[in-house]
Subunit: 596 residues, 2 copies
């Protein structure tokens, strides 16, 4: 079936169900950042392959909403399909909600698969329908009915993360979660965020690319728990571990019926940002819902000492791999060897793969040369990928999963001699990264407070960058992990205070369209510093130990304090990494970590 045929088939289903407007989001049933093939319903119905976007289909039109990252790609992919592109955020472009308000007829019906829609979004759709005396039909997986060759749900194996890696067993974690339940008088805690479940149960899986997670839901009761997942994914050993903690396996999809059958006298703790609309609607109306952030969110963000010790090991391996890569790149690229964006990325992956305990990439690697560096979400394809040449920079934003944790690092490396402008920009980014890394602050600060320490040097030059300066990092989990970040624009949500043993990235960047892009990213560990009459001071400790390319740096553009920051950092890089290098690499590293 081509797109027109698919749309026609969908409209037949819509008519049968008396649905006026049907919405197809990009999400899976768990509000995951990455989704498996089974869940790519929006891609199926529009042909658009980008990661973000929502399709809205009426009787006589079909639209796709996506954001600025994808305008060009969407225009290409939608060409000839008859689907209208709605450029979200552009002036004069209606939001989906505004579109619904205009297009929904009186007493009309909005349809969607409520499992792919968050609680708050679902509520807004229902509100819009109610204002027209209409309703939502959220039990409608119409795409499922027409998608004949829909991929199967993934069947990745689950595995246990022993206490040697996790640092805390499930018995202890469950106890802490149940204490939080007790505080809000909840006797059921409904969970559907995959990383929260993986953390709680010390299990990992392989159902989603780059995310070692198992598709699952969970209900934690006061004395037992139910895990809704495909039992076939679980080796005997894992099942036994679960049983020990009175955790009982149930089929994945049975959660919906189970929630309907919740005792109406229950008090249910759930996180509306992390539960889908159908689950929420299935809860008996008489039951009491206590909405708050999942307690697992903060618990897993504060790493335990075992996780920290392991993470440092993972980062050292990562630093060795990355330094070897830089040595290779500086010698190979622009020489007679042909190095492309993709082959460079593969080479870096191969250095990581040589490290013990490496499990795979922690996210889709970015390897962007020259002007591609300015495209923040650039992904090299055989078509787009270019050959590296002298007089440009390669930006790599990559990371690995190890048994000892996950990494995320960005370096931008000069190939041959680069321009003065590029060096100025590189120096600005390095200064911002170093200043934030060396910040000292009082306990109580959030990333919203501290972001300005990195931004200040940019803003003085009247430049900026349109992404957060940093995000939390999971431990062999999602590489983007809530609830911490460095974002000065926090909206109305009070930003999470930075606590000891949290891990956050520090990644300012500069992007000059059509010319070059530079980003430098270290991971930082939040540490306690001195306590005195003013309170508990805190500082960061870098976890990433890979040189900042001195070929791209203008020391005279840095203050003495900033040069000291860089020299101290480079001294640590050499001390930590050089023992794992061969003689040639060591000499190179010595040179590239020399004091400036």
């Amino acid at each position: 079936m081509n797109i027109s045929e698919r749309l026609a088939a969908l409209r037949r289903e819509m008519e049968q169900e008396s649905i006026d407007i049907y919405i197809v989001p990009s999400d899976d049933f768990h509000q995951s950042e990455y989704v498996g093939e089974y869940f790519k319903a929006r891609q199926f119905i529009t042909g658009f392959t980008g990661s973000a976007g929502t399709a809205v289909i009426t009787k006589n039109m079909a639209g796709l909403w996506t954001d600025g990252r994808y305008f060009i790609q969407a225009e290409k992919e939608l060409a000839g399909s008859g689907i209208t592109l709605f450029k979200s955020g552009e002036p004069g472009v209606d939001t989906i909600e505004q579109f619904l308000e205009k297009e929904l007829p009186s007493m009309g019906v909005i349809g969607f698969d409520g499992r792919t829609v968050g609680v708050n979004t679902g509520k807004r759709y229902a509100q819009i329908a109610a204002e027209k005396e209409g309703r939502v039909f959220y039990q409608a997986d119409l795409i499922g009915r027409i998608w004949n060759d829909r991929p199967q749900l993934p069947m990745g194996k689950a595995f246990l993360l022993g206490e040697k890696y996790s640092g805390e067993n499930t018995t202890s974690k469950l106890q802490r979660v149940r204490e939080e339940m007790k505080k809000v008088s909840a006797n059921i805690h409904l969970l559907s965020s995959l990383d929260d479940i993986a953390w709680l149960l010390n299990i990992r899986g392989s159902d989603i690319a780059y995310c070692p997670l198992v598709l699952s839901y969970m209900m934690v009761y006061e004395d037992h728990a139910e895990l809704y997942a495909d039992e076939k994914k679980f080796p005997e050993k894992v099942l036994n571990e679960l049983k020990k903690n009175e955790i009982f396996m149930k089929p994945y999809n049975d959660i919906y019926a189970a929630v309907k059958n919740i005792n109406p006298t229950s008090v249910i703790l759930l996180d509306p940002e992390r539960v889908n609309y159908t689950l929420y609607q299935n809860i008996p109306k008489k039951a009491m819902i206590t909405e708050r952030e999942n307690p697992e969110v903060l618990m897993k963000c504060i790493k335990n000492d075992t996780e920290i010790k392991n993470t440092k090991k993972a980062h050292l391996k990562d630093a060795v791999a990355h330094t070897k890569f830089m040595f290779w790149l500086k010698h190979a690229a622009g020489s007679d060897d042909i190095v492309t964006e993709i082959s460079a990325s593969d080479k870096l992956e191969s250095f990581r793969a040589q490290q013990e305990g490496y499990l795979g990439a922690s996210f889709a690697p970015i390897s962007a040369f020259g002007e591609h560096g300015a495209i923040v979400h650039y992904s090299a394809t055989p078509e787009s990928g270019v050959t590296l040449h002298k007089g440009g920079m390669l930006l790599t934003d990559t990371g690995g999963h190890y048994w000892e944790g996950s990494t995320d690092i960005t370096r931008t490396v000069a190939i041959g001699e680069i321009s003065q402008r590029e060096k100025e920009d590189f120096t600005l980014v390095a200064r911002a990264m170093l200043r934030l890394m060396n910040a000292v602050f009082l306990h109580g600060c959030s990333g919203a407070n501290l972001d300005c320490i990195a931004r200040e040097v940019f803003w003085k030059e009247r430049v900026s960058f349109n992404h957060g300066t940093g995000h939390g990092v999971g431990y062999l989990l999602n590489v983007h992990e809530a609830p911490i970040n460095f974002r000065w624009k926090e909206g109305n949500i009070p930003a999470q205070v930075l606590e000891r043993n949290m891990i956050i990235t520090d990644e300012p960047g500069i992007y000059i369209e059509g010319s070059h892009g530079i980003r430098l990213e270290n991971e930082l560990l939040v540490c306690e510093d001195e306590t005195n009459e003013y309170g508990q001071f805190m500082h960061f400790e870098p976890l990433t130990f890979v040189p900042i390319d001195l070929d791209a740096l203008l020391p005279e553009r840095m203050t003495e304090e900033e040069r000291d920051m860089l020299n101290n950092y480079h001294r640590s890089v050499y001390e930590k990494v050089s023992p794992y290098l061969n003689k040639e690499e060591q000499e190179w590293l010595k040179q590239y970590t020399r004091p400036i």
Copy 2:
């Protein structure tokens, strides 16, 4: 009557009204920062004269809650009264609410004058009573019954602020407020914050020390308004102006009956932070209340161009007065002339009084020498005041009201040679103040984002200060004006974005108990800077032009950038102020604004 007799009289009244616990706060009926003599009920019943504190009286005990600023003073003043001091914030000390929860008997009654209690506090008291199946009796002004020689309500004259000074007439302001009412479908806007009323009506008064305000309430309707205040305060001219805008005078206390008589079909816009509990309770239960910040709060915070032009004039006068004072101080103090904290303060006041259009001090002046500088809220008295001598610093935090606006400035000046430690601390404070003053930022930043720019240099040295780095300043109104500030700890309230034409202070400080205190404070104007593809950049422009004492500064402790900031600032100081000085003062200023 002594305190014991007053407490006995109060307890007789409590018994008559069946009140178990009676609460006496420090507030007037308008949540004002400073209160007139009439409202000092808490002082009357306890003898404690500090500005902050709450008395709680039961049948057999009386307690006073106050904060760290006042522990020593309260201990002294309460001695022998039998009143227990509760040190708020100290470990193990119950809050008033915890005390009420413990002490209120079943079905007990909490009494207070609801006019002196904010809406949210009143609601919490009612909640505590309800949990004991008791109630609050908030109509009980028992102090009024026993305070025979209670001072009269102030009778300060009201006066008009012409458009030449206000920059916008009341007709226009009322129109803008009514547009905001319309947005939330309100047909009544109930106001009791004195500065909001003064701003809206372009009137000023003299009912409260340091605050040019008129005791009043207001109800704004769609087509007219009612002002509840003592008509005798208003000259004919002012009354005529009010009438022109369909604003009708009503007796001050009639507001309570008027609110009771509000049409129950009304929608009332009010600010629960700026309305007292009795007013709120008097609103008919069937009427709808829309709670949000008074629209006047943001409107008056964003000064208009006339106000800015005038404010610059006021600050120039203030700078001339303050520079003359510094010249005098540097010559007089520590010489044969005897200069005390109080005489120095009087001298500064006399220099201000020489300026045209000066109306008086904008707050109680702080003049603190040597170790007194470390007491943030120090107020010199004939008993405490010391004589200045060489080898110490005088901290003055003072300000004036002018027809052209209000000022707030702090300088710390070395008398003779000071210690290396004092110079190091002074330099740290100067660096922080200058860095924040020179910040560039993207529109959208709040003071919570930017505070770290000043704090960062402190935190690097593991020191801090326990007050905000800045606050908004009113225009011939309250010198502490909501809703802007520089405070990294903002709690749950989303901090106000800094907009063009807002005025905010920049006043870091360092306080070494028993030794010295240093604070430097400039007022800053929020200005628009370049707009480019990254957005609208903003910067600050100083309004205050008084030298930073170079005798106390260690230039070698500053970065080149920071020295440039100081030199640029001092160049402006000399350019602006020197034309108004005599030859001798000019030469002195030249020397004290020399480049370093």
